[in-house]
Each structure stands twice: as structure tokens, then as C-alpha cells.
């Protein structure tokens, strides 16, 4: 059950490097064949400084590189098997390319308890500001996570 007193707190900032091979893995998993994400020449010819990150790349960062989602659930006392991903919002503020060092500042923006026909639930909003090695804001991510409580309140 989400600890509502944690609202406004967050995870310590964490940093990771954007790797071209991770972009390639994502693109291949999606089944995309857009040369923009696979060939530097294409990216340069379209005015990018290098291969740009695909629109959903940052999600990988919250899972694989850092385990941030899981750390957030742990900090909030949320049980993984009750969790549903409700919404995901990305605001793109700057270009992200391989070699960039991104720092994520994740805040537990709001935690709201709700009573619905299907039972009690918590709506948890995680807001993450992402900055690069030049301390420029490059992305803002907002994730709405739903924690559904079972009948016996676990």
C-alpha cells in the first residue's frame, strides 16, 4: 500500500550514459527499420548531431539502466504484483544522442487514494526531470502508476 507521507519526496538523482547499442536493441525489438535510428549518416543528413533517441527510449532508462521504477515502488512500499501502468507522458525539451550523460531527478509528485467499483486503489504520479551533461533540461517524463489493493487490503 502506497505510503502517502512520501508525497513530494523522490529518489536520489541517478546518472547513466546513452549507448547507441541500447537504441539499436529497442528499435529491433519494436521492429522498426527507420535508418534514422541505425545509421549516423542518415541522422546527420537530417540535421541531428548524431543518432537521436527514439521517442520511448527514456522508458528503458527507468527499467534496465537504473531500476528506477522498482526503486520508487520499494521506497513507496508498493507491491509490484498490484501495479498497473496507467499513463505515460514525455515532454521533449532537447536532443538526446549516444554518449550523452543523462541525470534523472524522479519525484513522487502525487499519491491519491481512490475508491472505485473494483475496489480501493492508489494513483501514484512519478515525475522525472532529465538533464544532460551540460545541465540542460532535455526531457520531462510523467508516469501514472495504479496500485490496486486486493480485497483483504494487501
Amino acid at each position: 500500500m502506497a505510503d502517502m507521507s512520501k508525497e513530494g519526496q523522490g529518489l536520489p538523482p541517478f546518472t547513466f550514459k546513452v549507448e547507441q547499442v541500447k537504441i539499436k536493441e529497442l528499435i529491433h525489438a519494436i521492429g522498426d527499420n527507420n535508418p534514422l535510428f541505425l545509421e549516423k549518416e542518415t541522422a546527420l543528413s537530417e540535421g541531428y548531431r548524431d543518432i537521436p533517441c527514439p521517442p520511448t527510449f527514456i522508458t528503458l532508462a527507468f527499467q534496465e539502466f537504473t531500476g528506477a521504477y522498482f526503486k520508487a515502488f520499494e521506497a513507496l512500499g508498493v507491491s509490484l504484483q498490484n501495479v498497473l501502468h496507467g499513463e505515460e507522458i514525455y515532454e521533449y525539451l532537447g536532443e538526446i544522442c549516444p554518449g550523452d550523460m543523462l541525470t534523472c531527478h524522479m519525484i513522487f509528485q502525487s499519491i491519491v487514494e481512490k475508491q472505485t467499483k473494483s475496489g480501493r486503489m492508489f494513483l501514484i504520479t512519478l515525475g522525472t526531470r532529465v538533464t544532460n551533461q551540460r545541465d540542460e533540461d532535455v526531457l520531462k517524463a510523467t508516469s501514472l502508476i495504479i496500485e490496486k489493493m486486493t480485497q483483504d487490503g494487501r
Binding site: 541500447k22 536493441e25 529497442l26 529491433h28 525489438a29 519494436i30 521492429g31 522498426d32 527507420n34 534514422l36 535510428f37 543528413s45 537530417e46 540535421g47 541531428y48 537521436p52 527514439p54 521517442p55 520511448t56 522508458t59 528503458l60 527499467q63 534496465e64 539502466f65 531500476g67 498497473l84 501502468h85 496507467g86 499513463e87 505515460e88 507522458i89 514525455y90 515532454e91 521533449y92 536532443e95
Partner: protein, 151 residues
């Protein structure tokens, strides 16, 4: 720099009117290997996406696709329509589970055009639906038609 970017392969958002539809993108049927591949790429090894037995125990008919994979399909469609430098916002709501064999089509249409200090913003709705027309993930995205294009 960037003045020579090849815009020919993208949609000209300046010429779009309210209600205009973007060319739909239909994906190949989802495969189990694809789910494993996405698990590897994302590092999210929740067995609900890779192990039928676990998925059945959880009350599913079998493994389900990662919602973010379907969002990735939508991202693929968007990156085919929009020069990513003009993509300012992308929001989705996860609505239904998807299984291997399902064929996802991504559709989008212009919902609103509004002014901003940086230029005109084109707001589009976007939906990923299966072969039965059932919505799996829906949302919206914003494209900026910048006032100056010599970025």
C-alpha cells in the same frame, strides 16, 4: 547547421487541417520472440511477458505484450511522420492487453491547432488498435511548426 535537413520524407504539418488523418501504420503480428527481445532491451523481465505458465496463473490466456512496446509502435509511427526535433509532447494511456498474434495498427488525426510563442502547435490524437478495432493504447502528441525553421 541543419539547414539541409531532408524533410521530404515527413508529413508537412503546416499544411494539415483539423480532422486530417495521418497515414496509418500496421505492424506485423506480435511474436513471443519480440516480447523476449523487448524484455532484454528494457531489462524488465516480468515473466507475465515471457512465460505462458506465469501469465495463466495470473488469469491471462497467455503472455501479454509490454504496454511500453505498444507505445514504441506508436513512437515508430510518429518518427515516420514527424521530424523528431518538432515533436514536443507524447502522452499515452494504457487501455487493454495485447497478445502474441495480435496485429496492431497505429492511427492518428489532427485534433487542434493553436498558437504559441514559438510557433504553431498541432495537437494530434493517436491510437493503437488491434485487428478487431479494439483500442489498446491511446493518447496524443504535439508537433511544433516553429516560426523560424533555420535551426
Amino acid at each position: 547547421m541543419g539547414g539541409d535537413r531532408n524533410m521530404a520524407r515527413y508529413i508537412d504539418f503546416r499544411s494539415l487541417e483539423l480532422g486530417d488523418r495521418l497515414p496509418p501504420v500496421t505492424k506485423d503480428p506480435i511474436t513471443k520472440v519480440q516480447l523476449v527481445r523487448y524484455a532484454g532491451a528494457s531489462g524488465d523481465f516480468n515473466p507475465l511477458h515471457t512465460d505462458d505458465q506465469t501469465a495463466r496463473t495470473a488469469g491471462m490466456k497467455g503472455v501479454i505484450a509490454q504496454g511500453i512496446l505498444i507505445m514504441g509502435f506508436m513512437g515508430q509511427a510518429i518518427s515516420g511522420w514527424v521530424h523528431l526535433r518538432d515533436l514536443k509532447r507524447f502522452k499515452v494511456r494504457f487501455r487493454g492487453v495485447t497478445h502474441p498474434g495480435d496485429v496492431i495498427t497505429v492511427r492518428a488525426a489532427v485534433m487542434e491547432k493553436k498558437g504559441s510563442s514559438e510557433g504553431e502547435v498541432v495537437l494530434c490524437n493517436i491510437i493503437a488498435e488491434d485487428q478487431n478495432g479494439e483500442a489498446k493504447v491511446s493518447g496524443e502528441f504535439e508537433v511544433l511548426n516553429a516560426i523560424r525553421d533555420n535551426r
